[in-house]
Symmetry: C2
Subunit: 405 residues, 2 copies
């Protein structure tokens, strides 16, 4: 099914707001088998909106989804322009106006006349309820295209797509497409590609690779669910525990869940990441059950004072060394009394690199009951990306240990 997207709003064309709504809708609808023909962003002026409508409808998409310009202020003209364009009259919906008044009262807000345009409804066509706000959506049917107009507030738009728009579209899709994303980390894209290519001749899935600082996501799509699952199962056999989860799950969520299930606790000694690993773990609700804390020892002195790293170790091998990473992991585990101690020490850049110890050099340690392992990595030149990749590699070492125990 072909879909066109029309985004309305000056803030999108001044660059003050990134159009993440369009990407979100595209992702939701592509996943169920739609094809997004094109996406247009126009200013909130009548002639701009009309030119966008003309262009989108020319391609005869089954659905045209419009976002933005349904609020209560002067520049919210989407409904008026759309109804004029389609020659549909509007009428005042006094039932909804009463509801709105009650809702404002409950929140202790006073309703103004400028909210009245939110109580308009088309004489032909239907209203899409907004469970999270006051701007309702519209569904207007033309000869070839169903036009859906939704508010641009992400939270409201998303709930209206999920509750009202997606269910309608799914019913109409002739060949439903199923898809699944397997999230991997630790294997470069080119190696993954070499491991996977020519492995799927019998299922003819469509396969996409999406690399980022967190790893490579592999997205598989097929109109036959069992063929998709066959190949996903096959990938689990080839890639094993390099797959950390499916779809939108984050590695820190896998860790918190697994550690809770297995009753394990975690402490971190961070140098180059400065607190990022603890920050990521504590983004997960209930992480306090398993995460006891971090010692962010950014200076050598604090490594000695707080973590008890031997001065001679720092002097002989340096703060960025296998030996220091090992002591940091072991000592932070002891300090917090946890099952595991993870440590990271590295040179994030842009300064501090030498010939022997280049920017990007990082050691990650993991201490468990009777054993400590340290891995060496060389990441890139960019400070923030090095920190992200370090945190991901450390969380991945912890995840692999957790799931195998």
């Amino acid at each position: 099914m072909k879909i066109a997207l029309l985004s309305i709003g000056n803030e999108l064309l001044s660059g003050n707001t990134i159009n993440s709504n369009a990407a979100w809708i595209a992702n939701e609808l592509t996943t169920i088998g739609c094809e997004i023909e094109n996406q247009i962003t126009v200013q909130d002026k009548e002639e701009s909106i009309v030119s966008g409508l003309d262009f989108c409808l020319l391609l005869k998409p089954t659905y045209l989804i419009i976002t933005g310009g349904l609020g209560p202020t002067d520049d919210d003209i989407t409904m008026a322009v759309l109804l004029k364009f389609l020659k549909i009259e509007s009428e005042f919906d006094s039932d909804y106006w009463d509801q709105l008044k009650k809702r404002f009262n409950r929140s202790g807000l006073s309703i103004t006349d400028s909210n009245k345009n939110q109580a308009l409804k088309p004489k032909f066509g239907s209203i899409i309820p907004n469970p999270k706000g006051s701007a309702r959506g519209l569904k207007l049917i033309t000869k070839e295209t169903t036009i859906i107009a939704l508010p641009g507030v992400p939270l409201e738009m998303k709930s209206m797509i999920n509750e009202f728009v997606k269910p309608q579209i799914i019913k109409l899709i002739k060949t439903r497409i199923y898809s699944k994303t397997l999230r991997t980390t630790g294997i470069p894209e080119s190696s993954l590609f070499d491991m996977i290519k020519n492995q799927d001749e019998q299922n003819s899935n469509s396969i996409g690779y999406y690399p980022s600082a967190y790893g490579v996501d592999i997205r598989i799509s097929n109109n036959r669910k069992e063929k998709l699952n066959n190949f996903a199962d096959h990938l689990y056999k080839i890639l094993g525990d390099n797959i950390y989860g499916e779809d939108k799950i984050r590695i820190e969520e896998v860790i918190v869940k697994t550690a809770i299930d297995k009753k394990k606790t975690i402490a971190v000694a961070e140098s180059c990441t400065g607190g990022l690993i603890g920050n990521r773990i504590t983004n997960v609700a209930n992480s306090s059950i398993v995460f006891k804390g971090s010692a962010v020892t950014y200076s050598n002195q604090s490594k000695v004072d707080i973590l008890g790293i031997e001065k001679i170790c720092l002097k002989e091998f340096g703060a960025v060394s296998k030996q220091t990473a090992k002591q940091m992991a072991e000592n932070v585990k002891k300090l917090f009394g946890t099952t595991y101690g993870i440590s990271v020490t590295g040179i994030s850049g842009p300064g501090g690199g030498t010939k022997d110890k280049p920017i990007g050099l990082t050691y990650i340690g993991l201490a468990k009951l009777n054993e400590t392992s340290v891995s060496r990595f060389v990441f890139g030149q960019d400070r923030e990306i090095n920190k992200l990749r370090t945190s991901q590699a450390a969380l991945n070492m912890l995840r692999k240990t957790l799931i195998n125990e």
Copy 2:
């Protein structure tokens, strides 16, 4: 000057990639006085690109800026389609091919025939050099519109816009628009608006408010630089140190720079933020000069063991209390031997809230030589946003102290 933007690439229409390029270009060009007429995203198919070109050129923009589809692979067809559309022939640029071969050799990579299309150039029109990659840009002039085509890789596109495209456009702009963003934090948008409204009658600047979890940015634009500066000076008088910087500077950059200048050092005791504050500070290069580390004490036991918080204080007042925040700030300052100790303790949610201590309740402490202050905040319901707002409020307390000493 009117500008149209055309983005080419299936990954943008499947929602796998958010079109941040378009927002970046829009922001750069709006800032110097351009108006973005519209922005279209099309698939990398010939007929889609042609329909996008038709639509954009119909509005006769002075510039049409195209991104994407100039790489070496099969789906990179932008140049071929564009030249066909404008009826311009291409020729092989053997000088550039020699350069490319040398560049690949130096990086230890082997060049393949698929790179040959990157050495094509138009017979009429000019080439835009790519300082960061191998895909060069194009500049093609039609009767009403100058068409610029650039690669979609953000790093490459940005350097080409900054070095080659923006300087050309600035020369052509008749009424150059100047703009400045004043970044504030700690005052709600509505209060800011009340403080500022009716203050700028003589300069007639255009003023925009952009709220986020980090605070509210105020963007002022004017075609007369002195009027812009007059009003900016006036805002500094009204808002004082609630403005933490201009344009794209981050509060953590202000802190690191000021602390280096004033030879002050920093340590942090983090509970609910889990390491976020240290992470943000250490995103800044050279932060190691002033940031000594954090104690991320997520459990009560670690607050006692590492920070020496009195058990009776935790028992009597709780971990989320003024008293605990005070001890955390003072003790982390002592532990790391720094000029300042900052502490945060709060209830991020989604669990853990009570009637007396609701989700979002947060105490932030700041210990300096002979004095410790603690502030109380109540943020919202969302865990990650609460963490962000807490980190911003803590960094802001630190910044205000730093600049006033």
